[in-house]
Symmetry: C2
Subunit: 210 residues, 2 copies
């Protein structure tokens, strides 16, 4: 009898849960995929609302405990499996900046991109959590310009979060194709884990459409 | 000669940096306060932009390394000083939910409150990172209803982040005064650390206004 893996991944193809899919491919730990079909509104059904009452993907169950919020999941898994080399350990001087980037993704970069996509005005300066789109993007560009990754040499969970945001932001035409961003995205796309993600995601999306 | 503390705290009275001020009061570690006067635009001057190019408070320098984003700072400090008992350690089954709440503050609760304050429409369902104001608030209410804290008995850095959001949200009339929220806020206001924060913040604000 096959044993249940420690990680169950609640995923919908072509959604923001691709962030965690990438993280899992980088992590190299076995996981069980629990697919949701967003077009059939499966994420709004009682079975899934019992997992995540927000009715959003992604979610994971790790050793039976549900964790939601993509960047929180990445932060958690990177620390839980340090052998994958995707975290910066507590005590390392880069731990603070590493956490800063993990939080910056969902609380600054992503809302800045969404506001631009939806053409929502920025309003009073300083009112929004991220400040302005331009200061937000400038900070990221400055950090990735040095390369190869956000924190220099090591590729970390922070690159999964920020890299996902930039690639998605360019796809929806909200993030301009600045040379630093294109070069960083090209480095990320060379990773076998991200190549597997794109292949799997396309396959899963096609299966759901069939 | 006095030694410089390991933590320098860049703070402006009556701003969102009160989150980190509270965290530091709970932490009990010595820190040097670096005050900024927002009315004098000190946070937009080159001296501070060298610390945080976003021109936002809060920021800390921890052992000489700058960390920004309030929730990232709280997460970092709680792990760096576990003797304060404000973190849930890696390996504890509650670590994932603890991180979820830390991320949920700046990426769901805070933007939901700001959008309501600014009367920004929620637009297409599912477009915003937090989903809707109601599902966001419902999730928090469900978690704090059991009490005394988000994760049950232990008060953690996640309570600093989510509690700050709720108290601020009620102050600006964006968060409704539901009984569960009022009871949770009352429990938090009983904490000596938060009482010291309110006293200090009022004193610092008065000094800047003088």
């Amino acid at each position: 009898m096959a044993t249940e893996p420690d990680i169950v991944f609640y995923h919908a193809p072509q959604s923001r849960s691709i962030i965690v899919q990438w993280m899992l491919e980088e992590l190299g730990q076995p996981y069980r995929l629990h697919l949701l079909n967003l077009k059939k509104e499966e994420h709004k059904q009682p079975a899934y609302l019992a997992v995540n009452p927000m009715g959003k993907v992604p979610a994971i169950a790790h050793k039976g405990v549900v964790v939601t919020e993509a960047a929180a999941i990445c932060c958690h898994l990177a620390d839980a499996y340090p052998q994958a080399g995707l975290n910066i350990a507590i005590g390392d001087p880069r731990r603070g900046p590493y956490l800063k980037w993990l939080f910056f993704g969902p609380s600054c970069l992503e809302p800045a991109i969404i506001d631009r996509m939806l053409k929502r005005p920025e309003g009073v300066p300083g009112a929004l959590g991220y400040g302005t789109f331009d200061t937000t993007l400038d900070l990221v560009v400055k950090a990735i310009a040095k390369g190869p990754h956000l924190l220099g040499e090591p590729f970390t969970a922070a690159d999964v979060v920020i890299g996902s945001g930039l690639i998605w932001g360019m796809a929806v035409k909200a993030v301009p194709e600045r040379p630093e961003i294109l070069a960083y995205a090209a480095r990320l796309r060379e990773r076998p884990a991200l190549q597997r993600v794109y292949a799997k995601d396309a396959e899963l999306a096609a299966a759901q459409a069939a």
